[in-house]
C-alpha cells in the first residue's frame, strides 16, 4: 500500500517535470508577476518594501491556481482516473498522493525562488525567514484546497475560470495569516500565533481533502 502510494506520487512528479515541464513554467509565471509590481507601482524602495510580502503571497496563490487543473485533467481525459478508481489503492490515498506531488512540483520551487524575489522587492531582511516559514506551513493548504477544486471541475470542459472562482475565496485565510505571520515577525511580537493558525488551516484541509475530493472524482467518473 505504502509503496503504491509513493509510486503514484513519483509518477505525478515525473509528469510535472517532463511534460513540457509545467513546474518550470509556474515558477517563471511567479517571477514575472512579482517583477511586474516594481514596474507598476514605481521603483520607490519604501513602497516596495511595504508591499513585498503581500505581492509574493498573492503571486504564489495565482501561480498555484494556474497549475491546479493539471492535477486531474490529464488523468481524467486519458482514462487513468478510471483505472485508479478500480485499483485496490483507495481513491482517498491517490488524491492525497496527487496533492503531495502538486505541492512538491509547484509550491516548493516557488518557496525556493522566494529569497531572490525578496531582494528584488527590497524586502526587510527580518521578514525573509518568517515568510519562508509561513510559506512552508501555508502552501500545503493551497495544494490541498486546490485539489478539491480541481476534482470538482474535472469533468467540465472549461473549468479553469470556475476553478478560480471556487478556490480563490478559500485561499483568503492562508493569505491573511501568511502576511500576518511576517508582519508580526518584523515588529517583534513573534509570528508563532499566525503560524499556528496557518498550520490549523493546513491540517484542516488535510483532514477533509481526501474524502471530499475522492467523492468528487467518483461523481465525475459517473
Amino acid at each position: 500500500m505504502n509503496t503504491h502510494f509513493w509510486s503514484v506520487v513519483k509518477r505525478d512528479i515525473k509528469i510535472g517535470w517532463q511534460g513540457g515541464s509545467t513546474s518550470s513554467m509556474v515558477v517563471a509565471f511567479f517571477i514575472i508577476v512579482v517583477t511586474l509590481f516594481p514596474l507598476g507601482v514605481g521603483p520607490e524602495q519604501s513602497v516596495l518594501a511595504r508591499i513585498a510580502v503581500g505581492v509574493i503571497w498573492v503571486a504564489a496563490l495565482l501561480a498555484c491556481l494556474l497549475s491546479l487543473d493539471r492535477i486531474f485533467q490529464a488523468d481524467y481525459e486519458d482514462g487513468t482516473l478510471d483505472q485508479y478508481a478500480l485499483s485496490r489503492l483507495p481513491l482517498e490515498l491517490i488524491v492525497i498522493g496527487k496533492s503531495l506531488a502538486h505541492w512538491l512540483t509547484t509550491s516548493l520551487p516557488l518557496i525556493l525562488t522566494t529569497p531572490v524575489l525578496a531582494v528584488l522587492l527590497n524586502m526587510n531582511d527580518a521578514a525573509l525567514l518568517p515568510l519562508i516559514y509561513a510559506m512552508l506551513i501555508g502552501t500545503p493548504a493551497l495544494s490541498l484546497i486546490g485539489t478539491i477544486g480541481a476534482s470538482l471541475t474535472v469533468s467540465l470542459k472549461r473549468g479553469g475560470v470556475l476553478l478560480s472562482l471556487l478556490i480563490l475565496p478559500l485561499y483568503v485565510p492562508v493569505l491573511i495569516f501568511g502576511v500576518m505571520a511576517v508582519d508580526a515577525g518584523i515588529s517583534g511580537i513573534g509570528s508563532n500565533a499566525s503560524l499556528l493558525f496557518l498550520a490549523a488551516v493546513t491540517l484542516f484541509s488535510l483532514a477533509i481533502t481526501p474524502w471530499v475530493s475522492a467523492a468528487a472524482v467518483r461523481l465525475a467518473l459517473d
Binding site: 509503496t3 503504491h4 509510486s7 509518477r11 515525473k14 509528469i15 517532463q18 511534460g19 490529464a74 481525459e77 486519458d78 482514462g79 487513468t80 478510471d82 483505472q83 478508481a85 478500480l86 485499483s87 485496490r88 489503492l89 467518483r218 467518473l221 459517473d222
Partner: protein, 220 residues
Amino acid sequence: MEKIDTFSVLNLSIKRGDRSVLRGLGFNLISGLLLKLIGPNGSGKSTLLKTLAGLIDIEEGDVLSDGISVMGNREWIARNICYLSHKNALKSEFTVLENIKFWADLWGCQNKILYSLNQMGIDYLRDTPVRYLSSGQARRVALARSLCHPAALWLYDEPTVGIDDQGLDYLSIAMEKHLAGGGMIICATHDNLRIKDEMVKNFDVTKFSVSLSSSGDDWS
C-alpha cells in the same frame, strides 16, 4: 487468478443523471465464456460495462459472483475485474514499458509484463515513448497492460478499435487462452472476435435499452 464460476446480473436498472439508460437487464455468465454485448451505438453497452466496473451506481438490481452480492464491493472489484474502456490510460510522457510497469506494480503482477507484450506482438515497442505510437499501437499497449491483470473477469469496451488484422489475431488468441483457463470476458464490440463459437454467447442489450425505445421522452 481467483476463479469465479458464475457471474450473474439480476434485473439491473441504470440511470445516468436523471435519464434511465438500461432497465430490467439480466444475464448469467459461467466461467470459460465470453459474453459479447451487441446493440447499436448508444444502446448502453459502455454504460453497462462501466457499471459492472463499479464506476456508475446501480439504481436497482444486483450483481452476484458465485451467488454472493458484489455490487459496489470495491475490494472485490479491484481483485476480480479488469476493465479496459475506450480510453487507453497511457501517459504520453513515458515509454511503453514504464506505462505498463506502473500498473503491473499496482496490481502485483510484474512477472507478466514481458509475456503480455509478447502476446500482443509489441516487444519491439518496449522502450518507445507512448507519444510516438500510432493509435492502433497504443491500443495494443493498453490491451497488453490489461493482460497483466490477475482478474478472472475482463470487461472490454471496444477492444478492437484501431488495431489491425494481426493485432486482432493476437487478441483473440489471448482471449481464448484466458477463457480456456477458466476466465470470463464481457466484451462490447461490433467486430468478429475470431473466437471459437462455443466460447461466445451473444447478448443483445437493445431490448433493455431505455434510451433507444422511448425515443427521447426522458430527456426533458
